[in-house]
């Protein structure tokens, strides 16, 4: 009954079969995806019937000072399983990722929130502007170096 959680290795192998250049590796719980390939990986994860990740639970960005991790939690309601994939962006300036808005519209506010608070820009999002803070606010407050 309980949902099955995909191990990182399992997911990365499934991804590698179709998109070999997208997968960078895996860890215990998640597959690592090349930042530029996030969009393609997202479409594959959603549309491939043997994966069927049609529900995007959440997107999280984590600031590790030298680099940022962006974590995607996915669920398939039909198959009742969950998976996680991550991507890593190096640097602190001009960070950007392909938006998954067109794949999962549920990413809308979460991507805007990450841009607002963490400063990771999502290319292809139709309305990429600050969500919590006002226009013209300087800095991204959830970064470790803010304050």
């Amino acid at each position: 009954m309980a949902v099955r959680e995909w191990a990182g290795q399992e997911l990365s192998e499934a991804l590698r079969r179709e998109l070999p250049e997208a997968v960078e590796g895996f860890d215990e719980t998640a597959a690592w995806v090349n930042p530029s390939q996030v969009g393609a990986a997202a479409i594959f994860l959603r549309d491939e019937p043997s994966l069927d990740f049609r529900f995007l639970n959440s997107i999280t960005a984590i600031d590790y000072v030298e680099y940022f991790d962006v974590v995607y939690h996915l669920t398939s309601l039909k198959q009742q399983w969950c998976a996680v994939f991550k991507t890593r962006l190096y640097g602190r300036q001009d960070l950007s990722l392909p938006s998954v808005y067109q794949v999962w519209k549920g990413a809308d506010y979460q991507e805007r929130e990450i841009w607002d608070l963490m400063g990771v820009y999502f290319e292809g999002h139709p309305n990429m502007k600050r969500i919590m803070l006002w226009e013209g606010f300087e800095g991204h407050p959830l970064r470790k170096d803010f304050l």
Binding site: M1, A2, V3, T29, R54, F55, L56, N57, S58, T60, I62, D63, V71, H73, L77, Q80, V84, W104, K105, G106, A107, D108, Y109, Q110, E113, L117, R130, I131, M132, L133, W134, P141, L142
Partner: protein, 368 residues
């Protein structure tokens, strides 16, 4: 003769009587019909995620109370489950039952508010809302017995609950269940088959299941769209694998179904509470954990529960310190708002308020 008309843009909120807090939607109207919607957030943004990085693991519990302040017990529960997964510990069985029981009481309280305000927004002046608040008050009194607070309870802790329920709690709970049966039946009688309520909500703003899933909608809104997805069933946490309950789903996906699903969930919550009372056994109510928790560095945990608004999850990342390195809150209220365009565009001003009420947002959780 042609009459020249032009669309009119209205700022609904942040000081509008029925936007559930300081929420603002910029709406363009063509007459009374909505042609464009743009939600504006942030009026209640308190930086909870940042604050959580400055506090140790136990202190963060008090922050979670202030997210969705109508269901603080469930917020506590979600956070505690996340911390327990991070530490790799399990609370004792009595604590699990106490958590399930209080979470279900809180769910009833939250759904009562949702239903009460939903009907208030339909224009029923206060009466159903007051009926709902009468019962909710009793639940808050029960919480006061448990932890001394009514809204910001902070009752749960990583590893269990703050303290076992006092002896007088159980008879009071029995009395409440007995009275609530009658009170809730009264409310259902007033609302469920109400002709005006039916014509105002039936067929209004249907959200097809595919759209709901693609928009990451969760909770009663998702279930009203015909998807029987409930994390209490799919990923049973605490004592939910020990109790029996059904999942109500809608078949028309409209405002009425969202209202109906909440009413039915109250019944299911009552069932769960009764089973918890039967099954609970004496024992410790809290795991002995150090006061300052230090999970192993590099660990991460995604703790989720089915909150009254939907899937509430805390994604915690540890760097081995006494505070979470990152504490992401997946707030159902914010993400359920993604469907706002599908929900409102093409419908009338009067339906807008009702549809907003039917997804039951809470600004404390939307803005965090």
């Amino acid at each position: 003769m042609t009459i020249r008309t032009e669309p009119m843009t209205v700022n609904v909120g942040p000081q509008h009587p029925s936007t559930h807090g300081v929420f603002r939607v910029r709406i363009t109207f063509d007459g009374e019909d909505i042609v464009e919607v743009e939600p504006v957030f942030g009026y209640l943004h308190r930086g909870t995620e940042k604050l959580a990085e400055e506090r140790n693991y136990v202190q963060v519990v008090t922050l979670t109370d202030r997210l969705d302040y109508t269901s603080s017990m469930i917020n506590n529960q979600a956070y505690c489950i996340a911390v327990e997964r991070l530490l790799g510990v399990e609370p004792p069985p009595r604590a699990k039952y106490l958590r399930t029981l209080t979470a279900e009481l809180q769910r009833i309280a939250a759904h009562l508010i949702a239903v009460g305000f939903f009907v208030q927004e339909l224009g029923a002046f206060g009466t159903p809302l007051m009926y709902a608040f009468r019962s909710r008050e009793r639940i808050l009194e029960l919480f006061e017995m448990l932890c001394g607070a009514r809204i910001t309870v902070s009752y749960m802790r990583p590893g269990g609950v703050f303290a076992d329920a006092p002896r007088e709690f159980w008879p009071a709970l029995d009395r409440f269940l007995e009275d609530f049966e009658v009170e809730f039946a009264e409310m259902e009688q007033l609302l469920l088959e109400n002709e005006i309520l039916m014509i105002r909500t039936r067929g209004v703003s249907p959200i097809p299941p595919e759209v709901a899933v693609n928009n990451s909608v969760s909770g009663p809104v998702l279930r009203a769209s015909g998807v029987n997805w409930d994390w209490r069933k799919q990923d049973p946490y605490d004592a939910y694998d020990q109790v029996e309950f059904d999942v109500p789903v809608g078949s028309h996906w409209d405002n009425y179904d969202r209202f109906w699903v909440r009413i039915q969930e109250v019944h299911q919550s009552l069932r769960i509470i009764r089973q918890c009372i039967e099954q609970i056994e004496p024992g410790p109510a809290r795991l002995e954990l150090p006061l300052v928790l230090r999970p192993d560095p590099g660990r991460e945990a995604y703790g989720r529960v089915e909150a009254s608004k939907g899937e509430l999850a805390f994604y915690l990342v540890s760097d081995g310190g006494i505070a979470p390195y990152r504490c992401k809150i997946r707030s159902p209220s914010l993400i359920n708002l993604t469907i706002i365009e599908e929900l409102l565009v093409g419908w009338k001003l009067a339906d807008m308020i009702v549809s907003l009420g039917s997804i039951d947002i809470n600004m404390g959780e939307v803005d965090r």
